[in-house]
Amino acid sequence: MRKEDTVKLISAEGFEFVVDKRAAMVSQTIRNMLTSPGSFAETQLGEVTFPEISTTILEKICQYFHWSLQYASDKGRYKKLISSLQRAGTVP
């Protein structure tokens, strides 16, 4: 994968998750962040820091991104993922 296609998501503990840009854009907030006019720090460096999100949560989020891209049309697996997220103690 080329550098331009990826974005780095950094958790509170400093863990770096390098994900596909398309995956990250599943989140509207991140999408706005990356496509906003004006030169915010994020777009320049290509990395977003989340000082209030822990690593485990961020990891699940990234998994969700990829899952969403792949299985957006398939409802069956959705329930499985929701229950797995609930077990991890996150807020949907």
């Binding site: 509207q28 907030t29 706005n32 962040m33 906003s36 006019p37 004006g38 030169s39 915010f40 720090a41 994020e42 777009t43 320049q44 977003v48 820091t49 989340f50 000082p51 209030e52 609930q86 103690g89 996150t90 807020v91 949907p92």
Partner: protein, 733 residues
């Protein structure tokens, strides 16, 4: 979303946000955001962390400080916009628009960045409190602080209008800049666009074009003016495409149309030497086409053109049909009518877009003036006669059809179609009997067209005439086949005419020479042998004869003469000199016919086979006639006095008209009876209307005549008057 599982001492609780205890929390967070907004407006946004700002805005809203955030946003933005407004006001001259444009672009960019950061507030706090969303807020603040600022508002409008004026006078302006500024106004709202620009624009444009049209009218002719108007119109449409709101197109074109066209329509159309009439006369297709497409845009434009055209055509037509010079040659007359029709057909086709209403106007005008001259039916029939005799010689079949169709078209305009029928029958009879038609197919084709137009009744007699000709041919063959001994003597060709079909002529006396009368009797016997119960009478005024003559110096000629002339000439076989009285007694031909016959034999140069003493022009009772031994002609065959269809002389015309009137009476009566039979009771005015309508396809019925017919029917007990209401009539079975 929580899923409490009662398992040992393991409990799962819903996620709770950290409770904020810091009272200054809101202020601190707001300061961060305020600072960020400043930086954004000062083009210093790089280095800011989106995530941090987003989180801060999110937290403020979450902890119920959304109101503080919002009001803070409003005041910060307003402050910035006031600064911006000042810098725009300070811009000099031409840089004003550019500065405005630049600042607007900056503002938009900043607005978007701010909106992105404050997205959470936009999505949650604002809908629930029904405040204006961030983007819209940004536009409204811009409008109120920049556009509505007293120093900018009018300057903006003036600058825009001045640029438009400059472009109209031929200068090149910065269209891209104009487009951006106008787009800005449009983005701020349709009402802003209209109030801050469009309304004034339209007013100023109206003034401009009022003045311009005045100037042009005074110094251009009609064609030029129309060109200029068209150009201006196109220019305005171009202007709209390039930098105005599409919705303005209809409005500005209306203005131009009104000022340049609608207000000056009468002047243009009636302009001396270049107006509509002149264009029509000169076939100026391009100018006419332009006038048509321009006038179509304004109310009553086409109506104006149509009215002037109609009155012009009627004028010209009237002149044509009442000009005594023209009336001398009927064929020329009709040809001129056809030429005029062709001319206007092509004008309507090429310049007026084949507009049906114009076609109708043309048709009604032609109908009007053709019927002004009562001899039109006769002339049209003569035209056809001329064409069928010689005019169509060598013309291809399609061209023949074209000419006949044109004749039919003129025929349709006639109101007195029965007069035409009468003349046509006469002319056709003469053509058939003298064998002078150029093409049998053309004749039949025309009959078919008449049948399609007027129905079977109209043409049944005409077709009867053709049938008679054919039957006669067969009869002659049969006659000679059964009488082989007659092969030696004079050859007889008989046309047997059914009385009803052919135009009636009163039969006159005429003594045929002995050889001929014997032959004729043999034929009569033959014919009546096969057709019992019929009666034959010889029509000596319609026949022709070919006789071989030897003159004094031995020159031989074959003479083609009428039957009367043949009778006269044959008398000279038995004597050298005959007086008028003797000829009259021997032949028993009526005096007027005989005189005419002798005139053509003796007094026409080059055809004078007889000599008359004295050599006067008139025929006197005691004049003497001799064979002209000095008769000379270049040709072997000499034709004397053919029976050609002439324009009728006055008394003949009166006679024909009278006959037509007579024929109309029974037709009117039949129509009245038909109507009364179905309606039973009807009042006077209604009868007149109905009868006129029914007879319309043949002729225009005269109300006085209809009244007379009603009276006559009452006398004959077909109708009766109502006892109470004198205007009511009742049908008597």
């Amino acid at each position: 979303m929580s899923n409490p599982q009662k398992k040992k001492n393991f409990q799962i609780e819903a996620f709770k946000h950290k409770v904020v205890v810091d009272p200054k929390y809101a202020d601190k967070t707001w300061k961060i955001l305020e600072h960020a907004i400043h930086e954004i407006y000062n083009h210093n946004a790089s280095g800011l962390s989106f995530e941090e700002l987003y989180r801060n805005a999110y937290n403020m809203v979450l902890h119920k400080f959304g109101e503080k955030l919002y009001t803070g946003l409003v005041s910060t933005m307003t402050a910035h916009l006031k600064e911006i407004s000042k810098s725009i006001e300070d811009a000099q001259g031409g840089l004003f628009l550019e500065e405005l444009n630049r600042k607007w672009n900056d503002h938009n960019k900043a607005l978007q960045m701010i909106r992105d950061i404050l997205m959470y507030m936009d999505r949650t706090f604002i809908p629930s409190t029904r405040k204006t969303p961030v983007h819209e807020l940004g536009l409204i603040l811009w409008r109120d602080n920049v556009i509505y600022s007293s120093k900018i508002r009018s300057r903006l409008l003036d600058t825009l209008l001045e640029l438009v004026l400059r472009e109209r006078t031929g200068e090149v302006i910065n269209r891209g800049l104009m487009r951006n500024i106008i787009k800005m106004l449009m983005d701020l709202g349709t009402s802003v666009y209209q109030e801050e620009f469009e309304q004034q624009f339209l007013e100023v444009s109206a003034e401009f074009y009022k003045g311009e049209s005045q100037k042009f009218i005074e110094c251009s002719d009609c064609g030029d003016y129309l060109k200029k108007a068209e150009r201006r119109l196109n220019e305005e449409m171009d202007r709209v495409t390039h930098y105005l709101d599409a919705k303005s197109e209809a409005k500005i074109t209306n203005v131009v149309e009104k000022e340049m066209i609608a207000n000056h329509m009468p002047t243009l159309v009636h302009m001396e030497n270049s107006g509509l009439v002149k264009m029509l006369l000169d076939d100026k297709y391009e100018d006419l086409g332009r006038m048509y497409s321009l006038f179509r845009r304004v109310p009553n434009g086409l109506l104006t053109i149509r009215e002037v055209m109609t009155s012009h055509i009627r004028e010209i037509g009237k002149q044509l049909v009442t000009d005594p010079e023209r009336l001398k040659d009927p064929v020329e007359f009709v040809q001129r009518l056809l030429d005029e029709k062709d001319k206007y057909d092509s004008i309507i086709n090429l310049a007026f877009n084949n507009d049906k209403t114009f076609q109708n106007a043309l048709n009604s005008s032609f109908e009007y003036f053709i019927n002004l001259n009562t001899r039109s039916p006769e002339f049209i029939s003569l035209f056809v006669d001329d064409k069928l005799r010689k005019g169509l010689k060598g013309v291809s079949e399609e061209d023949v059809e074209v000419i006949l169709d044109k004749v039919m078209m003129l025929f349709r305009y006639l109101q007195e179609k029965d007069v035409f029928e009468k003349y046509y029958k006469q002319h056709l009879a003469k053509r058939l009997l003298s064998g002078k038609t150029v093409s049998d197919d053309a004749e039949r084709s025309l009959i078919v067209k008449l049948k399609t137009e007027c129905g079977y009744q109209f043409t049944s007699k005409l077709e009867g005439m053709f049938t008679d000709m054919k039957t006669s041919q067969d009869t002659m063959q049969g006659f000679y086949a059964s009488h082989p001994e007659l092969g030696e003597g004079p050859t007889l060709t008989v046309q047997v005419l059914t009385t009803g079909s052919w135009p009636t002529q009163p039969s006159v006396t005429c003594n045929l020479p002995a050889e001929m009368s014997a032959l004729c009797e043999k034929f009569r016997a033959y014919y009546l042998g096969t057709h019992t119960g019929r009666r034959l009478s010889w029509q000596t005024n319609m026949g022709t004869a070919d006789i071989k003559a030897t003159f004094g110096k031995g020159q031989k000629h074959e003479l083609n003469v009428s039957t009367y002339q043949m009778c006269v000439l044959m008398l000279f076989n038995n004597s050298d000199r005959l007086s008028y009285k003797e000829i009259e007694q021997a032949t028993e031909i009526p005096a007027s016919d005989l005189k005419r016959c002798l005139q053509s034999l003796a007094l026409v140069k080059g055809k004078n086979v007889l000599r008359k003493e004295p050599m006067s022009k008139d025929i006197g009772e005691d004049d003497a006639f001799f064979v002209n031994d000095k008769f000379a002609s270049k040709f072997y065959k000499v034709k004397i006095g053919t029976v050609v269809a002439q324009k009728e002389s006055e008394p003949e015309k009166q006679e024909t008209r009278q006959r037509v009137e007579e024929d109309r009476k029974p037709q009117i009566e039949a129509a009245i009876v038909r109507i009364m039979k179905s309606r039973r009771v009807l009042d006077h005015n209604n009868i007149i209307t109905e009868v006129t309508k029914q007879l319309q396809s043949r002729f225009l019925a005269n109300p006085t005549e209809i009244k007379k017919r009603i009276e006559s029917l009452i006398e004959r007990d077909f109708l009766e008057r109502d006892n109470v209401d004198r205007k009511l009539y009742r049908y008597l079975a």
